[in-house]
Amino acid sequence: MASPMELSCWGGDWGLPSVHPESLVVMAYAKFAGAPLKLNVVDNMWTSPRGVVIPVLTSENTSVTQPTKILNFLRKKKYNADYDLSAKEGADTLAYIALLEEKLLPAVLHTFWVDADNYCTVTRPWFASRIPFPLNLYLPGKMSREALNRILVTKGEPPLYSLNDVEAQIYKDAKECLNLLSNRLGTSQFFFGNTPTTLDAFVFGFLAPLYKVRFPKVQLQEHLKQLSNLCRFCDDILGGYFTYNITGFSPAGQDTVDANLQKLTQLVNKESNLIEKMDDNLRKSPQHFPQKLTTLKPTRTGEESSSQHLSP
């Protein structure tokens, strides 16, 4: 391989290498296939990649967008996680990815970008803090509008006239999809035996953000947490392939990130760990939303809770 492949993606938080499903799909696949990617995390600097077309893979002056295309590109470079799959398993992969896109993606988009509580208290502040001024005022809103548009255009057909009806339908579909995935996974470690493949990357990419990100509105998260094998699946991949993340650093392999930013990331992660811990304590009283705790100062205790929380 001549020059290193560089992946521009959204950064991580809440113990995830990336909070953005599509970035996470590519990162997970690269880990599974052993492809050396230099991660270029979008942060609050003008030099970092911008825009809504994330993730982008750049290699030798070509840039590839969209997870499926990036994965194909990696396969052409001989980084293939699906060598051991039979033809039928390859077909299954395609079918389950279609299932995820049709049934789960609308609800994931809605949870992140459309639900007003989640968007205002979590998604918009998180993404805005990683985009430089003045784009931070514009891009999150644009991404939110695009998500809403996608949901309405693909799912908002008659007789679902009001947004409430559409929401009810997409969450119902998403819960059914989670149940199907849980049934399909059963007790095996990954979807096709003991080695992770493309399908695992996709499922992990879509599920992990739902599972880990602390949202005020958690209807899909609560459903996911009841499906213990899917949670175990996410924890296994986080523990087995993204272990460095437990220390609170954003993804490894980026010498471009300066020390200040690392400190900041650490601080943010400590804070979120603390919130997680507090939140665990308060779980019995659901009226306490996590965002009410953000005013607390981060303390050392955050570190203990992080290892405790992330161990599979």
Binding site: A95, L99, K103
Partner: protein, 276 residues
């Protein structure tokens, strides 16, 4: 629909037996219906035949505007109107007929996944070819879609529908795809279906399920419809087991009714080849 409404509908549905005068509505067969609508209609017809439920096919120029979801086909059973395959399957299940009851949980998940694959790739590709490929739009889609309507309504309706489909393509990221990429997607989808089917008579061995009905509807329509060029059909023709699969379902479920309804593609477009 809320859970209560769902439960209510299934209660009502369960109470009534399948009536003699059940009807399936679709656009005019000869001069109006489009590839994607014909595929969906054929899928529902195949499903009903597999369930052994008699249903009369009625062609109406305004079927699209009669349908509760704005999509064809829809069935009219007793005093209920249900449109599209997914809801029809649920409705029929509430009536006590189901093709997928014998499957275990993993197989059910697999069936749903493959159905989404067909919807996600084949159906979207059909819509793309009809409404976003200039040649097909001009030669086939426009005259057929607008045929029952007078000027200037014909132009307005075509424009409106085209705008709607293009908006959808943009939202799902297909707007920038070239026709070749779309054909490649179709090929990939057919390859997956062919590999999944293997040498079995149906996708889940001996008994047909709603997946078989859906795949049959789309593939049979693609195989028997004359478009501006043969590329789409050639993609499907490469897979011999899929062609055999279409023949098998046609033979088992449509043969004796061939005159009145069903294997619409063939009569609809004179240039379309027969499967025999």
């Amino acid at each position: 629909m809320s859970l209560v409404a769902d439960a209510f509908v299934s209660q009502i549905a369960a109470a009534e037996a399948w009536p003699e005068n059940a009807a399936l509505y679709q656009p005019l067969k000869g001069e109006q219906i489009l590839l994607s609508d014909n595929a969906s209609s054929l899928a529902v017809q195949a499903f009903l035949k597999m369930c052994n439920l008699p249903c009369q096919v009625i062609c109406r120029a305004n079927a699209e505007y009669m349908s509760p979801s704005g999509k064809v086909p829809f069935i009219h059973v007793g005093n209920q109107v249900v449109s599209e395959l997914g809801p029809v399957v649920q409705f029929i299940k509430a009536k006590g007929h189901s093709l997928s009851d014998g499957l275990d949980e993993v197989q059910k998940a697999e069936m749903k996944a493959y159905m989404e694959l067909v919807n996600n790739m084949l159906l979207t590709a059909e819509l793309y070819i009809q409404w976003c490929d200039e040649a097909t739009l001009e030669e086939i889609t426009e005259p057929r879609y607008s045929s029952p309507f007078p000027w200037p309504l014909n132009y307005i309706l075509v424009y409106q529908k085209r705008w709607e489909i293009q908006r959808k393509m943009k939202a799902i990221g297909w707007a920038n795809k070239s026709l070749d990429q779309v054909f490649e997607d179709v090929d990939q989808c057919c390859q997956a279906l062919s590999q999944r089917l293997g040498a079995q008579p149906y996708f889940f061995s001996k008994q047909p399920t709603e997946l078989d009905a859906l795949v049959f509807g789309h593939l049979f329509t693609i195989l028997t419809t004359q478009l501006t060029n043969d590329e789409l059909r050639e993609k499907v023709k490469k897979y011999k087991n899929l062609i055999d699969f279409c023949r098998r379902i046609e033979h088992n479920y449509f043969e004796d009714h061939a005159k009145d309804t069903s294997a619409g593609g063939m009569q609809r477009l004179p240039k379309g080849p027969s499967l025999h």
